[in-house]
């Protein structure tokens, strides 16, 4: 540490450059990880909120919620501690000032996915909805009357709830009884026949044994369901891939930088080795240096990321998962030290004789 620190202090510019590179890389890594968890939240928030264990879809739907369509009565046939039926459709909601693409959820108020409003009241009257609080920022408020695309129905917001976004759209929760009036094309259908069985997209369950899956249904765990949301896995993989790539880049940059610095010092190291200072001591010094620089770089990168997060408009889907960031930060430090191993190898190979006779 002695040698490492003295050298850093004496060659500030040089080491500041290495630190700056690590800082920028870690800033980018942290930001991408924030973006990844932000975007993931955008997709899965509502599903996570349910705290459900699994979901039943029709097997012909191939894991797609919108393609799954079943009779609500099937909920009685699945084995579970608790069940909740869900009908879903995407519509555009218009309060007169702003329009927003929303995900409309038809649910039964007595089942467990019924949201607890963080503001306002639960829906009770016909055609009332509890909306995702992200709509507030878009300019919606309690009491707004919403015209829906593809139907003549008007919904009224009675309350807001948090963590209610599904597949990147804010959710409107409403009573399943009213839902059929809203579903596009539903009007025409109901005109044909009076008594129609109640239709839902999926059945959400807590507990129970999914061994006996009713005919024509397919069971999947919540996590599998989320991974199969359109675009979710692709998006996640892309960002994760970028982060891993950044790890490789920082390893390479540190390796090259330190290698150049080490090569410049070969004769000095040679003299020191001739004097009997061991390769191990010199190598530890290089590792210590890398560690110091990486820690400084990552910490500043972390600080900058958090700071940037404060000033970002709400529309940017960034949410910082500090546990994940700590892991990424640690990986960055480890990866930098791996890069320093090239220099260690160089030091070990230095022949003190050459320094002496040079």
């Amino acid at each position: 540490m002695f040698l490492a620190w003295k050298e850093i202090k004496q060659n500030k510019l040089r080491f500041a450059l290495v630190t700056a590179v690590l800082l920028l890389v870690s800033y980018l890594v942290f930001f991408l990880s924030g973006l990844a968890s932000g975007l993931a939240g955008l997709n899965r928030e509502a599903v996570d909120k349910w705290q459900a264990d699994g979901i039943y879809l029709t097997d012909e739907a191939d894991k797609s919620l919108t393609q799954s369509m079943m009779e609500a009565d099937l909920a009685d046939k699945v084995e579970a501690d608790e069940t909740a039926v869900l009908a879903q459709t995407n519509v555009i909601a218009d309060n007169g000032d702003v329009k927003s693409g929303v995900s409309l959820f038809g649910i039964r108020p007595d089942e467990f996915i019924m949201p607890e409003p963080t503001e306002g009241d639960k829906f009770s009257e016909a055609l009332e909805v509890v909306a995702s609080d992200s709509l507030k920022e878009e300019g919606f408020s309690i009491g707004d009357e919403l015209d829906l695309s593809g139907s003549d129905v008007t919904l009224t917001i009675t309350g807001f709830t948090d963590e209610a976004r599904f597949n990147a759209a804010p959710v409107l929760y409403m009573n399943l009884d009213d839902f059929k009036k809203v579903r596009p094309g539903a009007a025409a259908q109901s005109a044909g026949r009076e008594e129609q069985p109640e239709m839902v997209n999926v059945i959400i369950v807590r507990g129970g044994q999914p061994d006996n899956v009713p005919k024509d249904l397919e069971y999947m765990e919540s996590e599998t369901f989320i991974e199969n949301l359109p675009g979710y896995t692709e998006q996640n993989l892309t960002l994760t891939f970028m982060i891993y790539f950044l790890f490789a880049i920082s390893a390479a940059v540190v390796a090259i930088f330190l290698y150049v610095l080490t090569v410049q010092k070969i004769s000095m190291f040679g003299v020191m080795k001739a004097q009997g200072i061991s390769s191990a001591y010199l190598s530890r010094s290089v590792i210590a240096q890398t560690f110091i620089l990486a820690v400084i770089g990552v910490l500043i990168g972390f600080g900058l990321t958090v700071l940037t997060g404060q000033f970002l408009p709400a529309a940017v889907p960034v949410s910082f998962d500090y546990g994940m960031m700590a892991i990424y930060g640690a990986v960055l430090i480890v990866v930098a030290i791996l890069g320093a191993l090239v220099s260690v190898w160089t030091i070990v190979k230095i022949d003190p004789l050459e320094a002496i006779s040079g």
Binding site: K6, S267, G276, S278
Partner: protein, 250 residues
């Protein structure tokens, strides 16, 4: 018990083989005792540095045997030889002996860190005083003159109280006044620290300060001058009868 810190017996060194073979050292024997300062002069390429690096355990000889402070280093692994160097050998080079980013006192502190330094505070201050560098302790090598740098290098080499001090052209980068001064300091410090000292040099004028002068020609070492009595040591030793392995005390 032997009084010779360095014993080299029938040491040979050959580089390469066949048509490119270079016999850098031909059957050389050399013994140096504590407190003794010898100089090796000779033309370029005659094998002086080769001899010195073998004496310091930086490379092994092709044949013969080398002992430093009683250890047969020819039989040791590189790791153990490095330990012998750490404990017993001090090197002074033509230049670049110093770590550029450490102050003079930090150069010595580094040696403490790697357990090479074994001087008390008084000893250290005495050494710095002796070499006239007490006022330079907070300076970096770049801010020192060539002569000052070499004096620091001597302090560094002697800091571990080495039994064997090896200097390869320590004055080559200095003008002759500085060279004399450094040589004088080297000699007196080495004698005070009781180290066996070998100085390789081109400059025959510098040999005034040493006990013995050897000349290396084409890999063969001759005793050129023995001025053993030039500067008597405290314990009254005034003469040495090397060159035959007379190892007994005088």
């Amino acid at each position: 018990m032997t009084e010779h810190v360095l014993q080299m017996e029938d040491v040979t060194k050959t580089f390469g083989s066949g048509r490119t073979e270079v016999r850098a050292l031909k059957k050389t024997s050399l013994n140096v005792s504590r407190g003794e300062v010898i100089a090796i002069i000779g033309p370029s390429g005659s094998g002086k540095s080769t001899l010195l690096t073998i004496a310091g355990g930086l490379q092994g000889p092709t044949g013969g045997e080398v002992q430093i402070a009683g250890e047969r280093i020819t039989e040791l692994s590189e790791k153990d030889r490095s330990k012998v160097r750490l404990e017993h050998v001090g090197f002074i080079l033509q230049s670049s002996n110093l770590v550029p980013f450490l102050t003079v006192s930090d150069q010595l502190k580094l040696l403490d860190k790697v357990k090479k330094g074994n001087m008390s505070k008084e000893e250290r201050e005495g050494l710095l005083e002796e070499l006239g560098i007490t006022k330079l302790t907070n300076k970096y090598p770049n801010d020192l003159s060539g002569g000052e740098r070499q004096r620091v290098a001597i302090a560094k080499a002697l800091y571990s109280n080495p039994s064997l001090l090896l200097a390869d052209e320590p004055t080559a980068s200095l003008d002759s006044d500085r060279a004399f001064e450094v040589m004088k300091l080297l000699k007196s410090a080495a004698v005070k620290k009781h180290a066996a000292t070998i100085v390789v040099t081109h400059d025959t004028r510098l040999t005034d300060y040493v006990d013995k002068v050897y000349k290396m020609v084409d890999g063969v070492l001759h005793l050129e001058a023995d001025k053993g009595g030039a500067e008597p040591l405290e314990n009254g030793r005034t003469d040495f009868l090397e060159k035959g392995g007379n190892d007994d005390g005088v």
